[in-house]
């Protein structure tokens, strides 16, 4: 097989197959480290704060939030859109990069997909709690009821129900199907009897038979083909929540592509934030190399630039439309009482990712980590700006008002962080964080030992 001499190896160190197994399973064995305990304690505290806020909301109602008659959507919807967006990176990496045959995805797809599932769970929490009565959450599904009434299939909010739940279900299946062979490896390497039994149960009796593998490859490819349009549809439908309304600043056709690229942008930033820490903490630096970080940074430049162009296009079209309400909505965003939020968004999303044009910056772990956090902040403010600034100047100037979150809303947001990190920390202890079989399958063509063999 031809191996390009310029291309850097994907996996560092001269690894054998059994070394790969050993390295990737290492973080699951033994007692968790001190940092793991610290992390889970902090996450647990955040989760408790969230539990208190949930209790307040359920017991006293939505009145505990800072929402008012004019601004009916605040942090709740901002956080929902933000978390859903973060989820997009995992599917993008595992599905779209699989279809494009990008081998570097093999080191990061497992953890990115796990992040996706957790992020969707965090996102789904907000619309449910926004109803005020969690127990009546099932009203959103079309089921035969005594009122003989069905749900409104013309509403984008209902499309959301189908999009998000399908997205979660298909992502879960895709992730678990990929995990089954690796769980077989965990089972066969397990020392204790109980551990072996548990992983034996979870591994679905995987043996590595060639027949199974061949069909496994087929379903992975088809699932990727299904998940790719699915991931694009999800944020498109989320953007419809805004775009199909008649609120100036929301009613724009640019929303679907702009939301999708923004979602991939923020998702990659979150994957970077997590993996830069995880690769160090789990000793997986030879698997998740600077190359991987650089490749992800390139996706960030691309999607960040699309987002930047979308901001400018929105402004231009507002002026070009000649509609004074549309023009006011945008001028108010940039110069009104929420201008600070708008400029945080512009700086974090339009300026900072452009720094990645410099190779020094996009190959620096520290710089990447800092910029990835900036992007996360910027993307949160994007949603905040869209939701709140468009609403707070109502059609009647007598209704004009300001919105400030209450402590309960802050608690709900912090609580989802707690949930996110708790589940992610449990994930790295329970499942292999890197797709073992997939890494082995690219080891021959892209490992360091092969590269040397070809040169000598």
């Amino acid at each position: 097989m031809y191996v390009s001499p310029i291309r850097e190896p994907l996996i560092r160190g001269e690894k054998t197959y059994s070394q790969v197994t050993k390295d990737i399973l290492a973080p699951m064995a033994g007692k968790p480290s001190k940092f793991w305990y610290m992390g889970i304690t902090l996450a647990g505290i955040a989760l408790l704060f969230g539990a208190w806020a949930t209790y307040q909301t359920v017991y006293y109602g939505i009145g505990t939030w800072g929402l008012n008659k004019t601004v009916g959507w605040g942090w709740g919807i901002t956080n929902f859109v933000w978390w859903v967006g973060i989820g997009h990176a995992g599917t993008f990496i595992s599905a779209i990069l699989l279809l494009f045959r990008q081998k570097w995805r093999t080191s990061i797809n497992r953890s990115a997909e796990a992040m996706t599932l957790i992020a969707i769970a965090c996102a789904g929490f907000f619309p449910l709690i926004h109803m005020g009565r969690l127990l009546l959450g099932f009203f959103i599904f079309p089921y035969p009821n005594t009122r003989a009434l069905w749900v409104n299939f013309n509403s984008p909010l209902l499309w959301d129900v189908f999009a998000i739940s399908t997205y979660f279900a298909v992502s879960l299946v895709f992730w678990y199907v990929g995990l089954v062979p690796d769980l077989g490896t965990v089972r066969d390497k397990a020392k204790g009897k109980i551990r072996k039994a548990i992983y034996g149960f979870l591994s679905f009796g995987w043996t590595g038979s060639a027949k199974h593998w061949s069909r496994h490859e087929t379903i992975s490819l088809i699932l990727a083909g299904l998940a790719a349009p699915l991931v694009l549809s999800v944020h498109t439908i989320v953007s419809f929540d805004f775009a199909t309304s008649v609120i100036p600043g929301w009613h724009t056709t640019i929303f679907p592509p702009y939301f999708v690229s923004g979602a991939v942008f923020s998702g990659f930033a979150m994957v970077l934030t997590l993996l830069i820490v995880a690769r160090k903490a789990l000793n997986l630096e030879e698997y998740i190399t600077v190359n991987h970080i650089e490749s992800m940074n390139k996706v960030i430049i691309l999607t960040g630039s699309i987002v930047g162009i979308a901001y400018i296009t929105e402004f231009f079209i507002a002026w070009y439309s000649g509609v004074e309400y549309e023009q006011y909505a945008f001028i108010n965003r940039a110069t009104g009482p929420y201008a600070w939020a708008y400029w945080i968004m512009m700086t974090c999303n339009v300026v900072t990712p452009q720094l990645f044009w410099f190779k020094k910056i996009r190959t620096s772990l520290v710089a990447t980590f800092i910029i990835s956090i900036f992007v996360n902040i910027g993307m949160w403010f994007e949603r905040f700006v869209i939701v709140v600034t468009s609403l707070h100047r109502d059609f009647l100037p007598s209704s004009w008002t300001m919105y400030k979150p209450s402590l309960v809303e802050v608690g709900l947001y912090v609580g989802t962080f707690g949930l996110f990190f708790t589940l992610f920390l449990l994930f790295i202890r329970v499942f292999p964080v890197i797709a073992i079989a997939e890494v082995k399958s690219v080891l021959k063509s892209s490992g360091e030992n092969q590269k040397h063999a070809h040169h000598e």
Partner: protein, 171 residues
């Protein structure tokens, strides 16, 4: 199956060469166990093209038809509601749910078909011939149920000629 012969390789390219050689000699390979999908092995073993794609298509088609049909039934027959004078059968707004259900059923039908067909699932009982098959060994399994002693010798010879290691005959 009570009698069988196993042998292993440590490199996937040797495995494919070996499998071809063994099959050319007319020995029937029951199965091969590998730690990761080896490309070209399905061809070397003479496997058919997967029919799972058809299952996925069928599932997707059912999802799309049921999804669209249900929405159309709700809005024209079960509980017609007038939304701002718009048509009852508002096709464009039925598309998102139709699409999502198509994807959902396509994915689930295919994956479920895969697990049922191979009898895999939570707690499924399967035979693990060598625990290193999920680590770094590529194991070839040959049926010796009705093989006479000299037939077994022949298979073992073919395996060692094809470069396989650790040839074992189990009864």
């Amino acid at each position: 199956m009570n009698k069988y012969i196993t042998a292993y390789y440590t490199d996937e390219n040797d495995l494919i060469k070996g499998v071809k050689q063994i099959r050319e000699k007319g020995h029937n390979i029951l199965d091969v166990f590998t730690p990761f999908p080896v490309h070209g092995l399905d061809v070397a073993l003479g496997m058919r093209r997967s029919r799972l794609t058809r299952v996925a298509f069928g599932g997707g088609a059912v999802g799309a038809i049921v999804g669209f049909g249900f929405q159309a039934w709700v809005f024209t027959k079960a509980y017609p509601l007038n939304f701002g004078g718009k048509p009852y059968l508002s096709v464009p707004s039925f598309i998102p749910v139709t699409f999502e259900l198509a994807v959902l059923l396509a994915a689930f039908s295919m994956v479920i078909a895969f697990f049922i067909h191979f009898k895999l699932g939570p707690g499924a009982k399967t035979v693990v011939y060598d625990e290193r098959c999920t680590d770094d060994r590529f194991l070839v399994l040959i049926d010796a149920e009705n093989a006479e002693a000299d037939e077994v010798k022949k298979i073992e010879k073919a395996l060692s000629d094809a470069g396989a290691e650790g040839i074992t005959y189990k009864e």
